[in-house]
Every structure is written in C-alpha cells, then in structure tokens.
Symmetry: none
C-alpha cells in the first residue's frame, strides 16, 4: 500500500522543531511493508492544508496527517479534512462528555475550546488517545484511508501502532525487507562504480547508498509476499555486493564498527585505551557509547597540550606533535598508563587555523601486543567534519589492527 | 519572498535519517525574513523528483533542493532539474579539472562517476562547495530561483549561508529577527509556567521554547520593516523573560555554555582539565569542539575502570566509585596530573544495568584554586540521554564554580 505522511504545523516550516514524526512513521511503515513516495509539510493555514490533503489523497492509498488536531484556534486539520472531502463537521456528545470527565478527574475546568476535540467529519471514526485529550481520526474517502494523529510524538506513536497500522495491514500486505551492508575504506564514487550495473538494473531487490563520516552503507531492499521470499531475493545480491567490495565490507545492519571492535577484543581477552589530541575524547566516547563497554575499555587520555603529551604519555619530543613518531609514542604511552593490551592514538590538525601541518592532516596510531603502526591521512572539510572522520578512521584502523590484518 | 524546501532521498521516506536539513534551512529563511508555505520530501525516483520540482516552482518564488547531487547513480537531482525545466545537461571542463586536482591533492585517483558532479543544466551557475566535491547549483527559470545544495548537513549549511541567502536577500524584505535566551537549571515545566502569560499573548514578538540536554532556549521573534524596529519589539520582551528566569539565564543566541566557560577561564588566566568516567570523554570533546580551545584546555583523563581511577588519578578508595569522595578526588587528581588550575569530574551510572547506585545517579565534581565541590544529581532516560545531560550539567556547574557563584 502506498502511504503518504503529511505534517501540519508552522513551527515545522520555521525550523523551530524538526520533523521527527515523519521519520518515525516512515520507519514504521517500511517495517510493515508499505511504500512511501512523498512526504509533505504545511503550515497552519486552512486553504494550504486542504490543497496538501487533496494532493496526497490523489496519489496515495492512505494518508497519515500529524498535527493540527489540538484544541487551539490554529489547529485546523479537522476543518481541512471536511473541506477536502466535502463533508460536514459533527460533534460527538459522547466524546464531549469524556473530555469533561477527563478534566474533572484532574481537578481542572474544561475551557470551551476543548470541545473542538469532540468534532469530527461526517463518516469519520474517532481513535482513542489514552495519552492526551485529542482523539485521532480515521476516514475512508474515495477508496483512500485518511488518518489524523496528534503531533505530540508520544501520542502520535501510540496511535500509529495501536490504531493506524492495524487498519493498514488488514489485507495481507507484502513485506518490505532491508539489509544494510556497511563498508569503510573506499570512497563513495568508487563504491558506486563497483556496483554500477547492479544499481542500474535493480528494481527488486533495489539498491541505495548512504554515506557519512567515511562509512558507506549499501541498502538492499526487497519486496515479497513473505519474509522468507524477501530474504531469498536479498541473499544473492548481498553476496554479489560483498564479493565486489571485498575487504571494505565490515558489517551489516546494526553492527557498528565500535561493536565489532569490542567483540573482537573480548574474543582475544584484550583491553583497550585511547590517546587523543585533536579528537578531544570523541574516540573514547564512541567506544563507551554502547552498554557493556566497561569490560573492555579501561580508559583514555586526552592530551591536548604538547607538554601534556610528554608529561602524561611520555612522548619524547614535543616540539612537533603532528607526526608519526608522536602518534606511535602516544599509543604506546596509553598502553603503559592504563595497563591496556591495545591503544589507539589520534594527533592532527582539525583547524580552522593551520599550525604545524595543513588542516586535515591526521596521524592515527594503533599499538597492540603484536606491534605499533601509524597511518597518515588527509581529510577535507571543517573542524567538526575532520574530527568526526578522524574518529571513524581510528575505530576502523584499530579494528583492522586487532583482526591481525594490518591496514595497507 | 516565498521559499519552498525540497528534500530528496529515499532514506528520508524510510525514516533511516531525520530531515534536519529542512529545519535548519527553515530557521535560516525565517531569520532572513522569508516566508515558507510548504516543504516536500521525495525519494530517489526521477519522475517523482521532476513532479515535486514542478509543483514547488509553480507556487514559490524560490526553491531550495537538498540532496541528490552526489556522484552516485541514485543522485538524480541534476537530471530532474533538466527535465523539469526542459534544459539540456552540460559538463564543466573547468570543474572536471578542479575535481581531478582535488583527488590528486589527496593522493587518490578520480573515478569516472565523479564527473557527474561537473554536470549542470544549461544556464545554471555552479556554487562552490569548499567542504566537499559536489558543487551547488543556481538556476533562474521562469522567474523562479532554484538552488540545489548537498544533503550532507555541513556542506548544505555552508552553501545556504554563503551562496543561497545572499542571492535571496537582494530585494528589500521585511526583517524577521530572532533573539534566543539560553537558560539552565530550571525544569521546562517551571520555565513554561513562569512565562505562560507572555507566551499565550505573544504575536509580535512571538515566543517559542526549545528544550534539550537540560538547557531550555526561549526564542523571541519579531517581524518589522527594518532591523532597528524589530530590535525595539524584542528588547522589552527579553528584559521581561530575563527578569522572570533570573539566574537560570546564562547566555543568548550563539553563546554556548562551553564558549562562556572558556572565556571566563581566559579572563582569569586559568587552564582546565577533565576527569570522566560515565561520560567517557564527552566533556573533554565538548570543551575542545570550539576552535581555539587549545589555549585553555590542557587535557583530560577518561578513567573508565575503577582501578584506573586509582592508578591514574590517585583516587584513594576504588571499592566504590559512584560517590562524592570519588568525584572530588578525580577532579583534584586531574588538576595534579595535567597541571591545570581547574578540573571537572563526572562519575555515575549511565545504565542500562544498575551497578553500585540506581541508573541516572551522577556525581559531578569541580576543583578550582578556591576549593573543590561536588553535586549529586539524578537523571532520567536512557544511557545516551543520561550521558548528554551529565555533560551539560558538568559544563554548567564548572561555569558556576569558576564564576565564583558556587551552585546552590
């Protein structure tokens, strides 16, 4: 079923809040095997909401509207739905009574405006909202299923899962299954070229790329009547993608590089420590982000000042600190200081002002019981981007070192 | 000018990423006095992108398209813009050369697919993107200004501020001016109550709340023919908000707590170091996020293991490490280890499994030449939320300590 999400609210247009509802609903729809072609956002303006609803109803099998069903004057979704479907507005005496009781129970008197929440377009069903006062609405019009849910995330999520999805899934939908292949070490353009023909031909399963912080995710999505069939569609494509990207593939789905690294270390009974300069603690923070890191991550040193690299980590020459020697000595010093089996170090120029070396120059060192290696890298972008690329690179180079496959 | 933002990417429809770009651009447009009536999101499908562009161009004075201009095959924005405007695709030999140099400089060979980024619809201007390889595009068609910017947030933001806004602001719009008051230390409900009447009545200037990581921002927005008049509308409201929130107000606009703290330290000629357990380096990372932190931040220790708290920071009793004594000794130990004037420490239970103390228990210590203090806090939420609240609290408590106003 093709479902379109419409979010109503001027605050979304002004960027005062981010449209997380669209993402939450989009993920829930995909998981349930529905398709999405478009999303729309419209302000609190009656005519524009009507136009938006009409467009969505003209091209989707179901429309989910979030927001604009509260008690205030700028909550116009109910009126817009009446106008878009040529239906009259009715008021539910029963729900009006429910509202009165709701306020009574909380020792508050109900203001007249709250009665707006007892209104509904002729033919619509009210969807109970245990988390708030505004009920959801369900209306079938011209063969299109239209749902209205509150904009408040907690109320929206409850209604999506308890009222909306059951009504969408009531005629055996097909399953939409996704498999995400995670790669690192090849530029996006090279990955794209290696997979070019697969991509161009791909319909079911289909291929998509997602790049960030130096990692590239390849998403394989298959549509089938059932999960088993969807898997059968995905497997050969996954095998082909893995064969072409080779060593660049490090995991799938929710296997982050951090999780994989920590599991490898556990497997060897090794502990890890960090020694960071330009990344200022972000590598240690990444390693400790996952629950249970405390069995493997002993600690880390942020040695931001040159002198501190000498005093705390025993770096011998701190007259220049953005070089391979410093990176190696930082990693070895961290192993000593924390009594860890493995240590990773990062030193470089995050900018914006260049100092010893050009902005974007990064040295990453990894020291294990099997030896110490350093890799020099050059990263583009601003301070924040360079720091985040350096963190990702540090995790991956450590993963390669611990796996015994020293990086090439 | 009426501006419509169009975001391209199937990952947005599937909810694999949230459309933060639309919020960032929406806020920037509002601040510049432009109006927004709609936003659209469309997947990586040529026909649908064309339909979306045509709709936006039919009802807006300017259209900003984010995403779909990278090197891969599912980057279809350039093709769609040609189709929507009936223009042919050209290739810039000059930009192709620029790309070759870009890859050369990084010791990488450019794959052919990167040349897609040198393509542009006839009549379009390429907008330089110093943060990445995909240039933005600017095309005026049928009196409508169309901009294409990358989907990568850092690259998008650079192009919006340096290339797009200047081209939008070239005819006298009315000014929409915003002032953000930053507060910390009062719960959102209390802030909302204290400002309730201002909020309800507010039209011009209008009030909006944004809460996150324990900080609450109050945005005051005024619309006026010129900036001076907008300021006159904002000032009395700002004075009233500050009078009601008192000490909770710590800054305005882009004055982050980190910036304020570092400036205070510079003023006193003091340096700072960190000692972190549950936050795993995030406090040090926050302090070093801003350029120029290196004059003040000497370094930090992430002592994740109890033994390490003793060995590295000299904590005397590590049988229990989630308590006030440990927090105090960690801060004092960090001052010694890094030779810093000030140190902040964090120890606590981030969860999900409770250990010594209930999940959410956090002890924050601050040691300055004037003494050492510890504050115990309780934080709700999951591991990530508890860590981020702990970081914000650590920065603010250090700010209060350094300012001489010990926290109450």
């Amino acid at each position: 079923m093709i479902v379109e999400v419409v979010a109503v609210g001027t605050e979304l247009l002004l960027g005062q809040i981010t449209n997380t509802n669209a993402a939450v609903i989009g993920a829930a729809l995909a998981a349930a095997g529905h398709d999405a072609h478009y999303q729309q956002v419209v302000g609190d303006n009656l005519d524009r909401i009507v136009a938006t609803l009409k467009l969505a109803m003209s091209r989707a099998d179901a429309v989910i509207v979030t927001g604009g069903i509260g008690p205030t004057q700028d909550d116009l979704t109910r009126e817009a739905l009446c106008a878009a479907t040529g239906r009259q507005m009715l008021e539910s005496a029963e729900y009006a009574e429910h509202l009165r009781k709701w306020f009574e129970a909380r020792g508050r008197t109900m203001s007249a405006s709250n009665l707006r929440q007892a209104q509904y377009p002729e033919g619509a069903v009210m969807l109970p909202n245990p988390k708030g006062t505004a009920p959801g609405l369900y209306l079938e019009h011209g063969g299109v299923k239209v749902f209205c849910v509150p904009g408040v995330p907690a109320e929206m999520e409850h209604l999506i899962h308890h009222e909306v999805l059951p009504r969408l899934n009531d005629h055996g939908e097909s399953v939409l299954l996704s498999r995400v292949i995670r790669s690192w070490g090849k530029p996006e353009s090279e990955v794209a070229e290696l997979l070019d023909d697969l991509y161009v031909g791909s319909v079911n399963p289909s291929l998509a790329f997602l790049a960030g912080s130096g990692e590239i995710k390849i998403r394989i999505t298959a549509k089938a009547p059932d999960e088993a069939t969807a898997r059968e569609l995905i497997e050969p494509m996954e095998a082909e993608v893995r064969a072409r990207l080779r060593d660049a593939v490090f995991g799938a789905d929710d296997q982050t590089a951090e999780k994989i690294l920590l599991d490898m270390l556990r497997g060897k009974g090794w502990t890890i420590a960090t020694a960071e300069s330009m990344t200022g603690g972000l590598v240690a923070a990444a390693l400790t982000a996952a629950p249970g890191a405390s069995d493997t991550v002993k600690g880390g040193a942020v040695t931001y000042w040159s002198e501190v690299k000498g005093a705390v980590l025993g770096v011998s020459d701190v007259s220049e600190v953005v070089d391979a020697e410093t990176a190696a000595e930082m990693a070895e010093g961290a192993r000593r200081l924390f009594g860890a089996d493995v240590a990773v170090s990062v030193t470089g120029e995050a900018g914006p002002e260049p100092a010893e070396k050009p902005v974007g120059t990064v040295f990453i060192g990894v020291s294990t019981p099997e030896g110490t290696k350093v890799r020099e890298m050059r990263m583009a972008g601003d301070r924040e981007r360079i720091r985040s690329f350096a963190v990702t690179s540090a995790i991956h180079l450590t993963r390669l070192a611990v796996s015994g496959r020293w990086w090439r």
